[in-house]
Amino acid sequence: MSNYRAHVLVCCGTGCTSSNSHIIMENFSKFVAEKGLEKEIDVVKTGCFGLCAEGPIVVIYPEGTMYYRCTPEDVEEIVNEHLVKGRKVERLLKTGNPDSNPTDFYSKQMRIALRNCGRINPDKIEEYIAHDGYQALCKIFSTKRDPAEIISEIKESGLRGRGGGGFPTGMKWDFAAKVQNDTKYVCCNADEGDPGAFMDRSILEGDPHTIIEAMTIAGYCIGAHQGYVYVRAEYPIAVERLSAAIDQAREHGFIGQNIFNSGFDFDLDIRLGAGAFVCGEETALMRSIEGKRGNPTPRPPFPAVKGLFGKPTILNNVETYANIPVILNKGAKWFASVGTEKSKGTKVFALGGKVNNVGLLEIPMGTTVREIVFDIGGGIPDGKKFKAVQTGGPSGGCIPASLLDTAIDYDNLVAVGSMMGSGGMIVMDEDTCMVDIAKFFLEFTVDESCGKCAPCRIGTKRMYEILTRITDGTGTLDDLQALEDVAVSLKNGSLCALGQTAANPILSTMKHFRDEYVEHVVDKKCRCGVCKDLLQYSIIKDSCIGCGMCSKVCPADAITRTDYIAPGKKLAAFEIDPSKCVKCGACMETCKFKAIVKK
């Protein structure tokens, strides 16, 4: 093996690839070769570094220099200056957003599940092995460890499901292990449906082997010989890297027949999802792997007893699996020393929305929301005021400014009316209308409700209709009560978690931002200017020069001339008849004198 004097790491996660990082990668190889340095400098494709807002990111080791927002055209300069002459390219050291601070972004994080993301080449099994990969699996077979003992170590670590529910992982494995059956299955939920969340995708793209190793261990523990990874079809890069990784693992004998000469067989297959949010629910996901409509089924029987193809099955989320090899390598005690009393370890979040450092981060449980938004996230752009942060996606809720010091763990988030969810975290500023956001999530659940049970199918639709009324100005105070009533029925009567939690975005916004709801129904006003039907266009008569352009472009003939001539103007001013106005905004776009306002 040759030694390189420098390594150039290029982020090839989905975010950076969308900004042409694959071309940056090609250019590095090209220019390094042109300089005849290919034996001294290694160009490495890696997974996500986390600071997606400043991508594409290139890191050069041994110095650890991080270059932000690189373009394919910048590569030649980086090669000539940095790699040949040893001078850093100063202009690329600064982030594109002056308010973002990468040092703060990383200093409060702790990376367990993301340990290899942005550090290794996901396409090379050797790099995973070099970072303790497959060590946990190998040790199990070389010491002939008893499956029950491994399960009790997982239990002891306190690891809980990272997909949202937070069920103790060790207990889940224990149930399945105790059921007698010749055929059992291990499944991985990589159907990351929560919009604005990309944790699982980043792990699959940046460190696919960790999932393979963990699923094989799970198979050994419960006595399964076949595993399925259910991935969203919308994640082509993740699917490609995972299938390449499965092939490599098979070639190396880490999965397949007689693993490590132990006599244990285990193999893995990928199943592609097809865009149904409900398939994140475990019973629905299994129906989908069976090739059927993804309708959930009542529990019990739980999947541990009767799951995929009617056989005992365990299903864990990608991030949950990513923790398993570390727990076994470092010990349950070490893992349990991180986090809070009832939530151990770390949690990965995809931070997005109105925040400076958009990206992927992993924090120890117990970190406060404030630390995430203001220290790691670098605060709100453009000097705007923080309003709320939304966690848990369409099943979660909003955390207002007064609760910023909430320490993040499963139980605390539920107590404030939200939930951990899979890890989407969207920051909202003063311009975000909370009623509109509730409506946005309801539109999503109406679309995604599978329609099998009436409370969810009808309830979500009725709540969406009420929210539509409130945002178009025809809502009443009774509607607010109706919303709460339907929400309770939905929670108690729905078959699966999709329906049971669908009202959360409404209930939490109504609890923390009730004044905004009341404003919409009583004053017919949207303070953020988001709900179009509540806006009124008007002409400031003293600024109007009477040119008549607005009247010409108005499609509804709602603008007419008045008798009033403003001081210093020659022609009479115009006015808008609100009863005729269709609120298209054409007049405001046309007026060069800023005489038309929207309030």
């Binding site: 975010g15 900004s19 969340a197 059927k292 409509r293 997005g352």
Partner: protein, 165 residues
């Protein structure tokens, strides 16, 4: 970049190859078969559904049931240039609804529809995962990030020129 169009004969040959791979495997192979069939045709018209049903030995109703359940499967063809606006939460908060409105206005069709000449179609999706670039628009495989509605006309003009419309 536009989708490479296959002739009907090429499509039929490719579909045959897929069907023979999964022949007789029943329900459990249905999703994979449909995904590959859609890759060939761009959508799943009734004749294709019938062929899939015959090959896998399941009912056409069952095939249609699965297609209509999953949003990834389409019963309508897409345009040569498919505009896809991300309406994930991160993009929505940053104003992707305004992008979608502007595209609908500029192309004169609604989301979910195709222009009469089948050159353009509009759809929306739930998170492409490029949240760092929000709000995001995809045109086939081209990604446009950090967009404002003002930039839409220039993008559309570019593809119109490419498509010679």
């Amino acid at each position: 970049m536009s989708i490479i169009k296959l002739t009907p004969e090429e499509q039929a040959t490719k579909l045959e190859a897929v069907l023979s791979k999964y022949k007789g495997q029943g329900q459990k192979a249905l999703m994979s078969t449909l995904q590959q069939a859609q890759e060939i045709y761009g959508y799943l018209p009734l004749p294709v559904q019938r062929k899939v049903a015959d090959a896998l030995d399941v009912s056409v109703a069952n095939v249609y049931g699965v297609i209509s359940f999953y949003s990834f499967f389409s019963l309508k063809p897409k345009g040569e240039y498919a505009f896809n606006v991300c309406l994930g939460t991160a993009c929505y908060v940053k104003g992707s609804q305004a992008l979608l409105d502007k595209i609908e206005e500029s192309l004169g069709i609604k989301s979910g529809d195709v222009t009469e000449d089948t050159k353009f179609s509009i759809s929306s999706c739930r998170c492409v995962g490029a949240c760092g670039l929000a709000p995001v628009l995809l045109v086939n495989d081209d990604v446009y990030g950090r967009l404002t509605p003002d930039e839409i006309p220039a993008i559309i003009a570019k593809y119109k020129e490419e498509a010679n419309v």
